[in-house]
């Protein structure tokens, strides 16, 4: 005899339940676009005030075909990559030194904090006067705000290594390099990678801000250009492209983090 299990009759199939997020996420996006379109139709907004999703998509398609989007996107991506790399190199090397020397940290940290307290738009003109080489200057300005969370997390990460672990390495008569490579780096990684997550989003903000204010290329410039020409669909398309890029970069970092910290999955 089959027992009456009314609960199972009500349940969705297992496969659907397991992948419910992949159904709900596009559904929410669709709903959002539909609402957007409806608001415009009801209120009869002209395109330069608020374009419909279809107009934005059309603008994106046309500008992608003509090569405008790929060109500016490539420039912005290059600047983000360069800025992030500069920040990464600086943050890890200086961060490690400061982690090892509290005295040095006391001497240097006021200057490092000052770079974060001064708004980027106030420092940027100076860097532009000094460097004035387009992409490199933009990358450098972005690096200026990007390095800080990575630096702080490098210091915290390296200092998180417990004394017993150092004693253990000492009992093995391990040299400095071995302590660094086999203990400090892997132990600091979880905290450090948290800083990288913040860093990559700041790199995007830094580059876009500089491009908005001073550049003649890149997605930031494109936003400026679209605004100047009252081309609101292009403005929306650029912002959408920018968001997609930022999300993509962030997810890449998360993905790399998952691979590096795969031992953590077992800990839960």
């Amino acid at each position: 005899m089959r027992t009456l299990d009314w609960n199972s009759e009500m349940r969705l199939p297992t496969f659907v339940r397991a992948h419910i997020q992949y159904i709900l996420i596009p559904f929410a996006l669709g709903l959002f676009l539909l609402l957007w379109e409806t608001i415009i139709i009801v209120n009869r907004f002209p395109a330069f005030i608020l374009p419909t999703p279809r107009e934005v998509a059309h603008s994106f398609g046309a500008n992608w075909q003509s090569g405008i989007f790929p060109r500016h996107l490539a420039i912005t991506l290059f600047e983000i990559g360069l800025g992030f790399s500069i920040a990464f190199t600086f943050a890890t090397s200086v961060g490690y030194l400061l982690a090892k020397s509290p005295l040095l940290e006391k001497i240097v940290s006021p200057y490092l904090i000052a770079t974060q307290a001064i708004p980027i738009v106030a420092i940027a003109p100076l860097i532009i006067i000094w460097i004035n080489t387009g992409s490199v200057q933009n990358a450098l300005i972005a690096a200026l705000i990007t390095f800080f969370p990575m630096l702080v997390n490098t210091i915290i990460g390296v200092r998180s290594v417990r004394e017993e672990y150092r004693a253990l390495m000492r009992s093995y008569a391990a040299n400095r390099w071995q302590v660094f490579a086999k203990l400090e780096v892997p132990a600091a990684l979880p905290i450090f990678l948290g800083g990288v997550r913040v860093g990559i989003t700041l790199a995007v903000i830094g580059v876009i801000v500089v491009e908005l204010m001073w550049a003649d290329r890149g997605l930031g410039f494109l936003i400026n250009f679209a605004q100047g020409h009252l081309d609101t669909p292009l403005l929306f398309a650029t912002v959408a492209a920018l968001s997609a890029m930022a999300i993509g970069l962030y997810l890449t970092v998360v993905f790399i983090e998952k691979i590096i910290l795969r031992w953590r999955r077992s800990v839960q």
Partner: protein, 259 residues
């Protein structure tokens, strides 16, 4: 020099902090530890047991006195990797698998991969955790983690195993089981064990001799020979002598009620 003693501690003192105030952790401690023996050091918290152990392992330097480890200074002994150390926490690298953790000391000396794996497997067999070789420490119970920590300390085939309250954080059942496992390991490897503990029964159950320390500044109050037959088992606890020794250690610690 007594050639039977593997570790000689002579009139060792340890002072922390500034010369004037600061803390005197150990005062004039002398102790000889014989090759192959299982010696426990027992004493109240803060009596300097750990300090003494760390000085043997050259993780701390004595303020006064002399320590000889296997005929060498502690530093030379450390460089020769004479001592394996086990701390109260397992101190495993959580990003390395169990086998990789045991291989770590061998990696440091640059042992070839095949040799490392062979040694790790042999040690995993010894602690009967071979099937956990590929797991990460986070997947193991606290007791198993401690066993891996002990196996790792044996990777170099050290002459001496320094254990700083290794079972202090474990529950009573696991503690007893690991104690038995440790005796088994000690019989098989003939390593000299210096074992720090808070537990009187544990010290009596495991050791050849028990060194009882006084509260800070720590001194060796008494060294008691534990003349219980080996191999020890659960039946050891039925011997009247076991209870006598418990009482003696407790008396040396000042734990017995005044009559």
């Amino acid at each position: 020099m007594d050639h039977h003693s593997l570790i000689e501690i002579e009139a060792v003192s340890k002072h922390y902090g500034p010369a004037r105030d600061g803390v005197l952790a150990l005062r004039d401690v002398s102790l000889r530890i014989r090759a192959g023996e299982f010696l426990s050091i027992i004493g109240p918290s803060g009596c300097g047991k750990s300090t003494l152990l760390k000085m043997i392992g050259d993780l701390l330097a004595p303020s006064a006195g002399r320590i000889v480890v296997n005929g060498k200074t502690p530093e030379a002994a450390r460089r020769a990797r004479e001592c394996g150390i086990v701390f109260q926490t397992p101190t495993l690298m959580e990003w390395r698998s169990v086998a990789q953790n045991i291989e770590l000391p061998l990696e440091i000396v640059g042992a070839p991969r095949a040799e490392r794996q062979q040694r790790a497997n042999a040690l995993l067999d010894l602690i009967r955790l071979r099937e956990f070789a590929a797991r990460f420490p986070g997947e193991l119970s606290a007791g198993m983690q401690m066993q891996v920590s002990i196996a790792r300390a044996l990777a170099f085939r050290p002459a001496i195993l320094l254990m700083d309250e290794p079972f202090g954080a474990l529950d009573e059942i696991t503690r007893e089981r690991l104690g038995r496992e440790l005796l088994d390991l000690w019989t098989k490897t003939r390593v000299t064990i210096v074992f720090i503990t808070h537990s009187v029964p544990e010290a009596v159950r495991l050791s050849d001799r028990v060194a009882v320390m006084s509260p800070r500044p720590g001194r060796i109050e008494r060294v008691l020979a534990i003349d219980l037959p080996r191999p020890r088992s659960a039946a050891t606890r039925d011997l009247p002598r076991y209870w006598e020794l418990l009482r003696e250690v407790r008396a040396a610690l000042g734990l017995n009620e005044p009559k």
